[in-house]
Symmetry: C2
Subunit: 348 residues, 2 copies
DNA sequence: TGCCATATTGACAGCGTTGTCATTTAATAA
DNA sequence: TTATTAAATGACAACGCTGTCAATATGGCA
């Protein structure tokens, strides 16, 4: 039933090494030979055995996705995007949720390499933005791609997929300003995420450019969770001079803000506008539907995976750069404003 | 840095085969020897190489989770639960999202076995309840566990983790009846899920037992999605004699119903009670928070994984049954009623 | 035609385990 | 004791592939 490289070699009348060359796209195989082998592969439905490859080769055929788990939708999008890329190239994906607070990530990373022989990793925030993690990954000689907020790419652009939070946050804030809002509250995400700072930055820029003074009272700490959205919004709305709009750092917090508003019998968007960020499915499942910024997580994941895979299978940096160009991999994304029903004109 | 079985053997002064015996918990090793080996393992931080194990052994050390992807929270819960069990025993998890409509699952299953040498699979609905899939899995000689709605366990109880949807749905309906509701709408989930029928069953039982006639007008088809919740609820609420309560087959549909109610300016729970099912995180993130039935997905996943793992590592059925007993694996779960803010007394 | 350089192919040794089977050791019976 | 048997251990060949390096074609050129 299941055929091995030996079967293919026999059928094609060549040595197993030649078959190996063909399936790995190595040079120095005559076109005629290559064809013979490919035909045999086809006929036998041959698929290289991953365990054997991993064991024999220096490079491995599995990559890992490292993530903390704040948002199920985000994680699923990432997984699916990466899985697609992996499947296309015969790689395997190991998912590795970890806790960013208890910092055993480095040990886990090491175990991943030694134990499972992982070729590369895709790092998502906040790990992708944590210096010690990045260093460990480098030390382990792992190919990696970091999905980061633009600010965190530093001199490591080659290994980053950037999301321009600042630009997107600017657009969102602009949208509110254009609707006459002058007092706009801002609910921060977790401190450890660079995106938090990037989004705040965009918010401030838009305000400044519109000549609106930034009121620190309107900026409240939080951590990308529903509950922190509830609390943050309450805090804002109980002020003497409450904002007419709230910019929540992600959809989950926005849903929390919505919840708080409802508790206080505030009408959305008539009395208060609320915006989120990310366009996660449940921004469409609130009432009213959330105005947000669409972050194409699935696309981002696919690019990230393609990037590591290119690195992993190329010998030189130049070679992988060339492969990237061919594949049309995008390395910078700007989430796009998506106006739905939770925003409207300022009541004042 | 990374140590192999040879290093351990050398250190312990035994042959590699003996080390193998110890790490695989095989019999016929003298306690003293076992200890020597274990110490060496400890000291060298030895971890068996998975690729080698998979290649050499008849049994493999990776299991797969097969799922369709309706609900991100559900999937993540499953993954994490299984991952925990896997980690504890040195197994690896391969996630495999698939599409239940396009029925290539069987081919994918076969590929999984041949290509990656998967030892066992955890099947979630609807795959776990699809006859052809189950047969293929059996034919492939795979160890498997099916997470199913009680009705679907048939004569295969040994390989099933059952969720008693009927009992839970009964409780939920009872709760509504106790609040004076007599006209209770029911939003069905997808036809292909056995849970849909189980939940409907429980609803009917409770009604009948309370002497309330079942009105087919109040039962509407759907498919476990937000949108179908919106549409189903609209359909119910636009009737001449609309229900005073709606039982949605899952939280997502309940959120949809909430959305529809809001559109129609209906107050929850004053004018209408709404219940969901599953207790997914966002049943806590709606306003008002949803009354629902708590389904311990993470726990269920852990049990499921423990079950396959026991099967995979045991030679005989008896042996694995014994292991199960030891581990205290639960094989039947009844989701528990969780009363929150979306239900109240009937307005009539 | 003959020779050299280069392109193509193959033989063979691992990779780190487990499985099989032979060997040694301990335990029991005589 | 010694013979007999069972338990404990080890030697060695797989597993299916890749890497290394040697062997063989092939083509170009004198």
């Amino acid at each position: 039933m299941k055929s091995t490289i030996n079967d293919v070699a026999a059928r094609a009348g060549v040595s197993i090494k030649t078959v190996s060359r063909v399936i790995n796209n190595e040079p120095s195989v005559r076109p005629a030979t290559r064809k013979k082998v490919m035909d045999a592969v086809e006929e036998l439905h041959y698929q290289p055995n991953l365990a054997a490859r991993n064991l024999a080769g220096t490079r491995s055929y599995t990559i890992a996705l490292i993530y903390d788990n704040p948002n199920a939708y985000y994680v699923i999008d990432m997984q699916n995007g990466i899985l697609e890329a992996c499947k296309a190239r015969g790689y395997e994906l190991l998912i590795h949720p970890s806790n960013s607070k208890s910092s055993t990530v480095n040990d886990e990373l090491r175990a991943l390499v030694e134990h499972s022989k992982v070729a590369g990793v895709v790092l998502t925030p906040p790990f992708s933005e944590t210096q010690s993690v990045i260093e460990e990954v480098k030390k382990l000689g792992l190919d990696y791609v970091r999905i980061v907020s633009s600010g965190a790419a530093e001199g490591d652009e080659d290994n980053c997929i950037q999301v321009d939070d600042t630009a997107a946050a600017y657009d969102i804030t602009r949208h509110l300003i254009e609707h006459g809002h002058k007092r706009i509250g801002f609910l921060c995400g977790g401190e450890e995420h660079v995106s938090t700072h990037g989004r705040l930055e965009g918010y401030k820029e838009a305000l400044q450019q519109a000549g609106i003074t930034i009121d620190p009272e309107l900026i409240v700490a939080g951590e990308y969770s529903f509950d922190s959205g509830v609390n943050g919004a309450k805090h804002l709305l109980e002020q003497d001079n409450p904002p007419t709009a709230i910019f929540a750092s992600n959809d989950e917090m926005a849903a929390g803000a919505l919840f708080a508003a409802r508790l206080m019998h505030i009408e959305i968007p008539q009395q208060l506008s609320i915006v989120g960020f990310e366009d996660s499915p449940f921004s469409r499942q609130t009432w009213p539907k959330l105005t947000t910024a669409h972050q194409p997580n699935n696309e981002i994941a696919k690019c990230a995976a393609a990037l590591v895979l290119n690195k992993a299978r190329s010998k030189s940096a130049a070679e992988s750069a060339a492969a990237n160009k061919d594949a049309g991999i995008l390395k910078k994304f700007v989430p796009e404003l998506l106006v739905r029903d939770s925003t409207g004109d300022s009541p004042n």
